[in-house]
């Protein structure tokens, strides 16, 4: 197992480098717009834009820029943000805790609720409980995040005045953003858990367990749930990886200064170093989370072994 982890970590570096390289080239070759133009403002002459481009080092050949980037990256330097004029690493380090908090809270809440609903609807399949569960999960899964976020603000902040609209200063600031993301997450997990659980409940080993006289609860929790969790863990892993890259819409609506908002802002401003920093973070998050998911697989299903 430890060899497997080491190998995965070793693979992670070239993977992150490959993603970063693609983004590096795409930014400079395929993406229209120019950080020097943005920085120069709307009254600049071509000479002034060129001066800024030269000062930022964007006038050099792409390959040379890339090698400079690699050299700095190896030394732990992701460059300075064009917009903020601060080291990219420092800016991302300030934003990442907000995104991590939002991600883990919303995935934890959403997954817990989703599991409970999924198990209940599977156990009571083809009853009115199941029907209500299906309707609700489809409904919640279909709600657009931006609309739900604004509705929650209207109800709980503007209407009832019980929660703040925006900011990130206390736990109260996270309630609405977490609820916004957890709703969709719970619906997804509930649907997945239900279908997986129904399949598992009809499996031979569950029937055997029942035939042996085990209590219903024991059959569910000890035998069925464990196998139901395999696909759920995969989806949870993907959700965590995706959200760590930034829940852009949610962060924007609730004024949360996280990585998603930072990345979108960086794209608008053609802040190349900041975009590259965010991409490295997203790639690293996905690799790390997938590694954790693989490790959890082995604990949940002892049949899975990593050579």
């Amino acid at each position: 197992m430890s060899q497997y982890i080491l190998r995965r970590i070793a693979i992670a570096f070239p993977l992150i480098l490959a993603v970063t390289t693609v983004v590096f080239v795409m930014l400079r070759v395929a993406l229209p717009g120019d950080p020097a133009q943005v920085m120069a403002g709307d009254r600049a002459s071509p000479e002034q834009i060129e001066l800024i481009r030269r000062k930022l080092g964007f006038d050099r050949p792409v390959l040379e820029q890339y090698f400079i980037f690699l050299r700095n990256f190896a030394g732990g330097d992701l460059g300075r943000s064009v917009k903020f004029r601060e080291p990219v690493l420092g800016v991302i380090a300030k934003a990442f805790p907000f995104t991590v908090t939002l991600t883990f809270l919303s995935v934890a809440v959403g997954t817990t609720i989703g599991l409970v609903i999924g198990i209940i609807t599977a156990v009571y399949q083809r009853t009115w409980v199941d029907n209500i569960g299906i309707v609700l999960t489809v409904f919640f899964f279909s709600i657009p995040t931006f609309w739900l976020g604004l509705m929650l603000i209207l109800i709980f902040s503007v209407g009832l005045r019980v929660l703040p609209v925006q900011g990130a200063g206390s736990w109260r600031h996270f309630v609405l953003p977490v609820a916004t993301l957890a709703v969709g997450q719970s619906a997804l997990i509930a649907r997945l858990t239900r279908s997986s659980m129904i399949e598992v409940l009809s499996a031979d080993y569950v029937r055997t367990a029942r035939a042996k006289g085990l209590a219903h609860r024991q059959v569910l929790l000890r035998h069925a749930l464990r196998n139901t969790l395999i696909p759920v863990i995969t989806v949870v892993g993907l959700s965590v990886g995706g959200l760590l890259g930034g829940a852009v819409i949610t962060e924007s609506i609730f004024g949360l200064p996280g990585v998603g908002r930072l990345a979108i802002d960086a794209i608008s401003n053609r802040d190349y170093p900041m975009i590259q920093g965010a991409v490295i973070l997203v790639a690293a998050s996905f690799v790390f989370v997938n590694l954790i998911v693989d490790i959890i697989y082995a604990f949940v299903d002892p049949r899975i072994r990593y050579a």
């Binding site: 993406l31 229209p32 717009g33 120019d34 133009q37 943005v38 920085m39 120069a40 403002g41 709307d42 009254r43 600049a44 002459s45 071509p46 000479e47 002034q48 834009i49 001066l51 800024i52 000062k55 300075r80 917009k83 903020f84 004029r85 601060e86 420092g90 800016v91 300030k94 934003a95 604004l150 603000i153 209207l154 902040s157 503007v158 005045r161 703040p164 609209v165 925006q166 900011g167 990130a168 924007s252 609506i253 609730f254 004024g255 200064p257 908002r261 930072l262 802002d265 794209i267 608008s268 401003n269 053609r270």
Partner: protein, 531 residues
């Protein structure tokens, strides 16, 4: 000996009484006033170093003073400048500074500090956007004494006071000690506020500068310090979030989206201020590319545009229709020029297009080009809904005269970048400024590939622009600017569309505030009632 000692004692006592009296009077003025003003301003979310920032929002000016300021009648008044004199040839400006101003690091705001700042803005290697005019304009600065200096220019420059009113003055001592890499996060100025805390991409917290007593009297009821204890700027830009935060009182000041004006006005907790921006929306043609090289074709588009309907549909009548390159909110606008500008006349537009060979040969309602091929007019526009709505209104109006418009939606940076290539066709854009010299930036031949997005210039227009920018006499300058506007109207490199509204919502509990005619927020006399 005794006599002189008594006189000295008397002088000392008089001074002490005067000082304590002034302090008491100041305490009286400030009694019961204070609080923290929270505003949302995503535009401020940049470096606070004025030598690198391309955007200077009003909160930036809360940290740094300027040499001049604009009074409510938009005339220039002294801020750090106490008095000034322009030489007869208009090429030198002598400025006497106020003598009581200090930077927040304790160093004096004197002539040497001003020279350091102005020289830095005028450095050809400077990337600052605000002081760029000084690079070619400033010859040298002659310091006469601690508080007086003369700027010698290479040529007379009419917008000089406008330029100087925009230059933030930093502490040279602090800048050199902190260094350019970190000054943006640890700025030291001499404005009414001091940066207390900055969390990048999140918020900035300013606290009152207790030593600030040099507010321009033409603008403010008292010399300072400001009443507010703190100013907190949240870097959030999502319109509906900002509006909700204003409704709940989390923030005290915000721009109101047009579609939310009625709700905001109905809210007793919010005072709404309605004004017009010093900004215009226009459609530009790439005049270096066929067929847009033809001024008659460009003019036909102007005749096909119903500005009144445009502002009704795109802005619920909150914007003003515009027929010339300068809006009424920028000095130099001449309302008489509206009479010579192309206004909505679809028959005339159709006749002009017919004459140019753009006719509907196949009877499908859309015109073909003079060669009989299908004609498509690409209009590049920014992606936000507001811009798209404007483009769609134009599409409907132009379609009515048989112009087949194709709307290309681009992200804003990509749109601006496209206009520098010279390969574009039509573009929907804006500009915002407070001086007619803006037209030089848009029609200077040297700025094609930069801010001259219409790629339009002629020798005659260049001469007119130079004349307007070098004429310091206000009456003569007005005439020169009118000549520039008239020339641009006749050449039609743009179709002028509208002057957008500035809708500001302020919480009712905030007292003493004002909105400047340039739409910036005057917080100096603003306060919350405190115990």
């Amino acid at each position: 000996m005794h006599k002189s000692r008594n006189a000295l004692l008397l002088l000392l006592m008089t001074t002490l009484i005067t000082m304590s009296g002034a302090a008491l009077a100041q305490d009286d003025i400030m009694a019961g006033k204070g609080g923290r003003l929270v505003v949302a301003d995503a535009n401020s979310n940049t470096s606070f170093d004025p030598f690198v920032s391309s955007w200077h929002s009003w909160p930036h000016y809360a940290l740094f003073p300027t040499l001049f300021s604009r009074a409510l009648d938009m005339s220039y008044v002294g801020y750090l400048a106490d008095s000034w004199e322009v030489s007869e040839d208009s090429k030198s400006l002598t400025i006497n500074l106020i003598e009581n101003a200090t930077f927040t690091d304790g160093t004096p705001i004197n002539a040497e500090a001003l020279k350091w700042n102005l020289d830095k803005y005028a450095d050809p290697e400077s990337t600052a956007s605000t002081g760029r005019a000084l690079i070619t304009l400033l010859d040298n600065i002659e310091v006469h004494d601690d508080y007086s200096f003369t700027m010698h220019m290479n040529s007379p420059h009419a917008p000089l006071f406008f330029v100087l009113a925009g230059l933030e003055i930093v502490s040279p001592t602090a800048y050199e000690a902190i260094g350019p890499d970190d000054f943006g996060t640890s700025p030291v100025g001499g404005g009414p506020f001091i940066l207390k805390e900055l969390v990048t991409d999140n918020y900035a917290l300013f606290e009152r500068n207790p030593d600030f007593t040099w507010a321009p009297p033409e603008l403010y009821d008292h010399p300072g310090p400001v009443f507010l204890d703190e100013l907190r700027i949240l870097f959030i830009g999502e319109e509906q979030t900002v509006l909700a935060a204003l409704e709940t009182g989390e923030i005290s000041l915000a721009g109101i989206p047009t579609q939310n004006l009625a709700d905001a006005e109905a809210n007793p907790d919010i005072d709404v201020h309605v004004a017009k921006l010093s900004q215009i929306r226009y459609v530009g043609f790439n005049t270096s590319k066929d067929p847009w090289t033809n001024p008659d074709l460009r003019k036909a588009f102007a005749y096909a545009t119903d500005r009144q309907e445009f502002v009704t549909l795109a802005w619920d009548d909150l914007a003003d229709p515009l027929y010339q390159p300068l809006p009424p909110t920028i000095w130099g606008h001449n309302p008489e020029l509206n009479a010579i500008a192309p206004s909505f006349d679809p028959e005339k537009a159709g006749a002009m297009l017919d004459e140019l060979g753009y006719v509907d040969a196949d009877g499908d309602g859309m015109r073909e080009d003079p060669d009989g091929n299908d004609w498509t007019v690409p209009l590049a526009t920014a992606s936000p809904d507001e811009w798209l709505r404007q483009a769609e209104v134009l599409e409907a109006q132009w379609r009515a005269v048989g112009i087949p418009l194709q709307i290309d939606v681009l992200e804003f940076s990509a749109l601006v970048d496209l206009t520098t290539t010279g390969e574009h066709d039509l573009f929907l854009l804006l500009y915002g400024y407070q001086d007619p010299s803006i037209l030089t930036y848009f029609f200077d031949p040297a700025r094609k590939g930069g801010s001259n997005r219409a790629w339009f210039s002629t020798d005659e227009l260049t001469d007119l622009l130079v004349a307007a920018d070098s004429q310091l006499d206000p009456e003569l300058r007005y005439e020169a600017v009118t000549a520039v506007s008239k020339y641009i109207i006749e050449a039609s490199p743009w179709v002028y569309l509208a002057v957008p509204p500035a809708l500001t919502g302020v919480r009712a509990e905030l007292m003493g505030w004002r909105i400047h005619p340039d739409t910036s927020f005057l917080y100096w006399n603003a306060y919350f009632e405190v115990e």
